[in-house]
Symmetry: C2
Subunit: 294 residues, 2 copies
């Protein structure tokens, strides 16, 4: 989008996650990181963020203080500024504690144009790190589950990681953060949007042991669980190794890996070569598996 | 704010008005007009608008359809585009029907810099039209009141009116839309921000008969009631008459008038010369007189 001669990205998201404070973060940090990541997935670096609250009467002021500090800190870490805000209060029972909206303006460099319809046969599919942490962290708290190892949300800003990737390969074809619907939905949307197939390599996809255990217990598929600090990139095969190297040098991409390839076969469909050598379809999540996860 | 060389304004507002459809408009139109007006009060013309919903499960789809059409139509009328959006659904009883957030990016012309701290002694205080319509329309529906003449919200976009004003006088000192807290709060904030006094002329301030009657009945002060399609401008005395003429040529400013002047006396205080010749203080609204009015 061009405004007054500047190449800008603009995005908005409301956050209704429950609980509003969870292992690894809270709704304020989640909202700021989420909007920064939406911009980053458009290849943009964040310039300005807005923050708007709908508060249920009776929300403890301490919660509001912690969440606001956490939103401000998240913006500062990503080099973004919260420049405008709004607060509305509704009566008890007219909202559930706190809803947060963030919108963001980002600046897109010339030559950068990632888009879900640009995956091309032969491209590499790159994942920035282990999946399933955010969704499982939220569900565990809600279900009152405790695991030996606490599972924490992976909420983090990815704009620094994206900048490092674009420095190596400005023409990254697709960037997507696998939030609602998880890795599976993100890749299926790209396959559908680009009219290509994808073949993934199961052993290459990192699923933390505690996430795997919790998913079995809760009846979830880790491929469908929301992430809030991970990205998928579709990049030309020739630069894939260099992009992964650049990602691994960044804390947000320390476990980045090529997890598969774009193929001409079965357009619109994503398949997985499993550890035992069989091949299965990675299906799109229909409906909402986990309500109020973000 | 300058982003990538462009002089931009950025603003956000959440809307929690109850009821979501009311005489003269609905929450979708209100939200779009409100954000366009926030930009206009910064001297900006709208370039891009975001629209985000938090929906309570069970909201009739017909309401959502009407409200979305109405938001789109409001944007189109103002020459703005809704370029991004988001939808979250929460369970029954976790929100009250529908909350709407809009954020907006506007473009500010060079030399335009209205600000609440720029009112200067001798300036004219201009009001764009009759006050009290939005707040009284909402309260009347909520209280189940019917008047002989239906009172409709004045929700409308003011960017066209502001453009007409700036064409005559690019250096308008202050622009403010008297929403929450009404005319009284808007003028008090300007007087406080600029360290000046104001003297208003009661007969010059248009209060529609039905608004006056409803306010008496409901125990409200029309000066404190929210407006959603009006503005106050503080302009150099030399150009005030020309600005008013330009406003009157625009439908949104057909009843524009000079309602008072900025004075050196009683800094931070707004006084009113009443119809009977006495002088009274126009006080700031403390707390929220009318919850969920916008």
């Amino acid at each position: 989008m061009e405004i007054a001669g500047a190449r800008l990205a603009f995005t908005t998201d409301s956050y209704v996650v429950s609980p509003i404070r969870f292992p690894g973060g809270d709704i304020g940090e989640l909202a700021v990181n989420g909007t920064i990541n939406d911009l980053a997935m458009m290849g943009a670096q964040p310039a300005a963020i807005s923050l708007a609250y709908v508060i249920e009467e009776g929300l403890p002021l301490e919660d509001l203080r912690v969440i606001t500090m956490s939103a401000a800190a998240a913006a500062a870490r990503a080099g973004a500024r919260i420049v405008t805000g709004d607060t509305k209060v509704v009566g008890r029972g007219q909202a559930d504690k706190l809803f947060v909206n963030t919108a963001g303006i980002g600046v897109v460099a010339d030559g950068v144009a990632p888009s879900a319809d640009r995956a091309s046969v032969g491209d590499a599919v790159i994942l920035s790190g282990p999946i399933g942490l955010h969704g499982v962290a939220i569900m565990s708290v809600r279900e009152g589950l405790e695991f030996e190892v606490e599972i924490k949300s992976d909420t983090q800003a990815l704009n620094g990681l994206v900048a490092a990737m674009l420095a190596v390969e400005p023409d990254i074809h697709v960037l997507r953060d696998p939030t609602r619907g998880g890795l599976s939905s993100a890749l299926n949307e790209i396959a559908g949007g680009s009219g290509v197939g994808m073949v993934l390599d199961e052993p290459a996809i990192p699923i933390p042991g505690p996430v795997r255990a919790a998913c079995e217990f809760l009846g979830l598929d880790p491929f469908h669980v929301a992430n809030e600090g991970k990205l998928v990139a579709i990049v030309p095969a020739a630069s894939a190794a260099a992009v992964v190297s650049a990602m691994r040098a960044n804390p947000a991409g320390a476990e980045a890996a090529i997890i598969g390839h774009v193929v001409a076969d079965h357009p619109g469909m994503v398949t997985l070569r499993t550890i035992v050598g069989s091949e299965r379809i990675v299906d799109m999540l229909v409906g909402e598996q986990l309500p109020r996860i973000c």
